[in-house]
């Protein structure tokens, strides 16, 4: 379904990705964990070319691409197959909720307006925002904006949706509703690749968890393997650190 082989990416002299490889099968939910600066977000952004990787190979469905020689046409092809949900939502600020969802359907998928509207209404109903169709992003809460973001990604019917820390910018009480929605996305059988710090999400939903550090994949496996039978020392340290901050939070 999606495969990245040996991806390299530098920002100037800073080497962010040093040959990471990952694989996502169809209908799988794969979660990437890792400390900040481990390259997980960069990896995700390289998949739909929001960043341009320096080296490596990308396969999405039946499209195979070499990062070094990628062509503009190939980038568009990949972007049509890949949905993206941003950490800070990135809704089109000049468009209402329904227009946000419709716009790609009309401009990219070339659907007639009425059909696009119907699909957008369905997608927004599915994320429980039927009463907010004509609201601008600035009139919606963070959680609502993120739900529109997810509806926008789903409506395009991509082969896979990438989630880049979708709950990191949200108020704690809104994280739950977004995670719940993502679980529903997973239940629909949509292939998902998720960067998150929400261990509970990884534990409950993921088919596979990947731990990244220093621009490479350190360890991967089922949630049970990774959380309960951790092999690598670096993974153990990271999990211990996250769990300890979690307990502090609950104590407070």
């Amino acid at each position: 379904m999606l495969e990245i082989k040996n991806i390299h990416k530098n920002f100037g002299s800073l080497e962010v990705l040093k040959g990471a490889s990952i694989r996502v099968e169809a209908h799988q939910v794969v979660v990437i964990l890792g400390p900040s600066g481990s390259g997980k977000t960069t990896l995700l952004r390289c998949i739909n070319f929001l960043e341009h990787a320096d080296k490596g190979e990308l396969t999405v469905g039946d499209t195979k691409i070499d990062f070094e020689t990628v062509k503009r046409r190939e980038i568009r092809e990949v972007r049509k197959k890949v949905g993206f949900v941003f950490q800070n939502y990135n809704l089109f600020a000049n468009k209402t909720a329904i227009q946000n969802v419709m716009h790609g359907l009309i401009v990219v998928k070339k659907l007639p307006k009425a059909e696009a509207r119907k699909k957008a209404e369905e997608a927004l109903a599915w994320v429980k925002l039927s009463d907010k169709l004509d609201y601008y992003p600035s009139q919606l809460s963070g959680g609502q904006q993120q739900r529109v973001g997810i509806a926008r990604a789903i409506a395009m019917e991509p082969d896979i949706i990438l989630f880049d820390e979708p709950t990191s910018a949200l108020d704690p009480e809104l994280i739950g509703e977004t995670l719940e929605l993502m679980k529903n996305v997973a239940k629909r059988g949509i292939t998902m690749l998720v960067v998150t710090h929400e261990l509970s999400f990884a534990q409950d939903i993921a088919d596979k968890v990947i731990f990244m550090d220093g621009g490479v994949v350190v360890e991967e496996g089922t949630p049970d393997e990774l959380f309960n039978h951790t092999k690598e020392e670096r993974t153990k340290r990271f999990l211990a650190r996250i769990l300890s901050t979690k307990t502090i939070k609950t104590k407070v």
Binding site: F49, L50, G83, F86, N90, V107
Partner: protein
């Protein structure tokens, strides 16, 4: 000040309003199109062109507006015969309406300012808005047209209104080129009676009304573009 002369000049000035409007808004349209291209080239640092335009804009900004207009008209009269011969045209310098030269001059005067305004607008749009467009599969052009440009205009309307006002005032300078406009029309009406004060005040009044209208339209557009977007945030 004699009322009779004042109204005589005022009438002559009003007759010339279309002339100034044509100069102002055709200059504006061309400046917006060219200025957008320049702003994009400079923002995305297109090799060779970007540094070249940086220098060109910085130099042009430093010239007084009437000096630019004078240079334009002189360069035009000096080279007219060569241009006509080169293009094999059978016309004399009197056949060409000088308003075109005035518009070229006004474009040179206004372009640096307007392209700067557009660049400011472009920089004000978060990078995430582009990425959002790309993420649903839109091309750079589609994203720019549908997402970035409308948001840019919302941002720049207050400053752009000011630029249009300045441009409108610059159109009064074209009389140094011998092009007729509100001010010149008013002055011409004054020559017989030698009532220059009346003529200047009449022209000032006309410019004030035009300026007031531009300001009003700007405010209206601002309100329209902001509808919904700023209600809560």
């Amino acid at each position: 000040m004699k009322a009779q002369y004042f109204f005589l000049c005022l009438e002559a000035a009003i007759r010339k309003i279309p002339q100034n409007l044509i100069m102002c808004f055709s200059t504006l349209a061309i400046c917006l199109a060219l200025g957008m291209v320049i702003a994009l080239i400079r923002t995305y640092r297109i090799p060779v062109l970007a540094p070249l335009l940086d220098i060109l804009m910085a130099v042009t900004k430093a010239f007084p507006a009437n000096l630019i207009l004078l240079i334009c008209i002189m360069a035009y009269t000096y080279t007219f015969n060569d241009i006509v011969t080169f293009l094999h045209l059978n016309i004399t310098i009197r056949d060409v309406n000088l308003i075109y030269i005035a518009i070229v001059g006004l474009i040179i005067v206004s372009l640096p300012g307007i392209s700067e305004v557009l660049r400011g607008g472009l920089l004000a749009i978060p990078k995430g808005q582009f990425e959002a467009g790309y993420s649903v599969g839109m091309t750079a052009f589609q994203t720019f047209r549908d997402i970035i440009l409308p948001q840019m205009f919302r941002v720049i309307i207050p400053v752009l209104t000011n630029s249009i006002l300045t441009l409108m005032k610059s159109t009064a300078l074209v009389n140094v080129m011998g092009v007729s406009d509100i001010l010149r029309g008013s002055i011409e009406a004054a020559t017989d009676a030698y009532c220059y004060l009346e003529a200047y005040v009449a022209a000032a009044l006309v410019f004030w009304v035009l300026g007031f209208m531009i300001e009003k339209i700007g405010r209206m557009l601002e309100a329209r573009f902001n509808k919904g977007i700023r209600q809560i945030s």
